[in-house]
Assembly symmetry: C2
Homo-oligomer: 359 residues x 2
């Protein structure tokens, strides 16, 4: 607690739905509000607890869609209600981060904040806290856009990559450029070269650095949100945001800022991280039984099953025999049984469903 500073903030990004975790995730109950790991805590609760080890809990903000306000309050009873940034529209990450930066700046000019996804997992928490403090310290003293980089353990095509000039070294590394999700061949080149890290979507910067970068590269967003900055941190904030926020460009912070900046730094942080993007990544991440199964929920019998992910909602029970390489998810009136190696299709199947009650 001793090195927590009053001018350090964390903004937890919690606006997504995580459709690839359907049918567990729903429009009305996105992935970050689920206990995906089966640990008795939702992902956002774990993220909040982790954040509170880095900054004072009064300085933890959550940015989310306005319709998830009640869910945030339910999952994070300790949060200051004025620390919930409610997006009236889904405009991707750049407007959201700009809004957070302007709001934090209006509290103090020398603030530094980190952006954390709400729905990832990090196993090595102490190391993560240590690396975040390093990042905060560097961002405080430099006009730098800092990110944590994860050493790739496989040529994953689902992640963005961070390219360095040479092999990653401990501590601060200058970033050459950000690379979008590559194809498999490219990903293999990246991993073999040793010059690439995974982009975990964790950013640390001073409000001045990020606003300066955005003013340069995404000025429409800054201008749109800056029409009446005096409204921020007042009872009129929400009404103001409801007016201006939907007018901002819909663009990610990676496109709007990171790909156009040359003051990007990364700190390698092998914190046992996963973005838990898909059922397969959950399967890969979790401890498995002798037959490589991950089983969540009350499965009364699981015989002759192998390399499968079985997730049964709390109010349901299952008896399963003879499944190989399958995903089985039963949640809130929807059963999905799907081959593990075709799980990327589930998102499309979901998108084709017309019945909004099960989305």
């Amino acid at each position: 607690m001793n090195n927590q500073k009053e001018n350090h903030y964390i903004v937890i990004m919690a606006g997504g739905v995580g459709t690839r975790f359907w049918p567990a995730s729903r429009e009305s109950r996105p992935k970050q509000f689920l206990d995906i790991l089966g640990v008795g805590q939702s992902l956002i609760q774990t993220t909040f607890d982790r954040a509170s080890k880095i900054v004072p809990f009064q300085n933890i903000m959550v940015a989310t869609n306005e319709k998830y306000k009640d869910l945030v309050l339910e999952h994070l009873p300790k949060i200051n209600e004025t620390n919930i940034l409610l997006e009236p529209s889904r405009n991707n990450t750049a407007p959201c981060i700009a809004y957070a930066a302007l709001k934090i700046k209006s509290k103090g000019n020398d603030s530094v904040f980190a952006v954390l996804p709400s729905d990832h997992v990090i196993l090595k928490e102490a190391l993560f806290v240590e690396k975040m403090h390093e990042a905060f310290a560097f961002a405080e003293q430099n006009e730098a856009l800092v990110t944590l980089g994860i050493s790739p353990t496989r040529p994953d095509t689902g992640y963005g990559y961070i390219e360095l000039d040479g092999a990653a070294k401990e501590g601060i590394n200058k970033v050459n450029q950000f690379k979008e999700k590559p194809d498999l061949k490219t990903a293999e080149t990246y991993v073999n070269s040793g010059n690439y890290l995974w982009n975990a979507g964790i950013f640390i910067w001073s409000v001045n650095s990020v606003l300066s970068g955005m003013t340069k590269n995404a000025n429409q967003i800054i201008e749109t949100l800056s029409q009446d900055l005096d409204k921020l941190n007042t009872p009129e904030e929400q009404e103001y945001i409801n007016q201006v926020y939907p007018l901002t460009d819909n663009i990610s912070v990676d496109y709007a800022l990171m790909e156009n900046s040359n003051n990007i730094y990364t700190i390698p942080a092998d914190i046992a991280w996963s973005d838990l993007g898909t059922w397969n990544s959950l399967h890969a991440y979790m401890d498995k039984d002798d037959a490589e199964n991950v089983i969540q929920g009350t499965v009364l019998l699981a015989e002759e099953c192998s390399n499968s992910l079985i997730r049964i909602a709390d109010d349901q029970k299952a008896v399963i025999k003879g499944l190989k390489d399958m995903i089985v998810v039963l949640d809130d009136g929807v059963l999905v049984i799907y081959p593990k190696d075709k799980e990327q299709e589930i998102k499309q199947v979901r998108n084709n469903i017309k019945d909004s009650r099960i989305l």
Copy 2:
């Protein structure tokens, strides 16, 4: 309707649970109360409708366990409440049939009644009605225990067989003996010989014939139930039955009567019958899609599935890909996924479950 007679009765046997249809069947909602065929009617409703084409509906009785009284009234709103025979204990079929016979006899000495299982299916209804009228006519005029016999289409080891002296001929055939469920080799011999029919558990006899046979072969049951016959068809009937019924021998009508009688006759009746004993027999009975699947309920997607039975309860939806030779049943909080060729294990799995809420 014209050949329906006032002294003809039908007793529908509805006391079983049908545990092999778990998790669709439950202690609290046995198989006969389910719409197993997905036709919008429970099996007992279909059976009642079929019976009402043979005898006046006022003469249709239902024998069941006392705990299913409300279910019977719910499924058969037309039934006369005094026509529901409530068994206070599960003593198998012989005591139940004896009770029905004594109750019907107390209404009139010249009555004839048929016993029908409540949970079977018959596709050729008109032929069934015709054969039943034949059986009623013969049973009325002879001291005969009559049964309908089904020409076997395969060497099924799940059915009892009726042995004739020679090849089955149209109309009344004298039965040599009843045979219990055979092993496969024996079943093959039966089917190849042409002298055997399946026992569908459909019996037709006069009250005098069946009571005379039972007095000879299962007198304990008749004596126990006959202590105070004046109570039958009075407001005191149930209290009386509650006292004496549990004291009767627990034995099936096949053992108690049919195997010891020499006045048994059968009418071959190729009525497209199935006892729907198991999920596999349901699969065999139902129309299948091009890939040999039977799908009941809202399955939004069933891709690359073959030779499978998928049954999803009304309040649930499913997306399924890549299942071969499997049974999938989702009903009331329980999901079962099981290889089709191992379905006989499901009953044992069910018996091992300690949580009575899902049985």
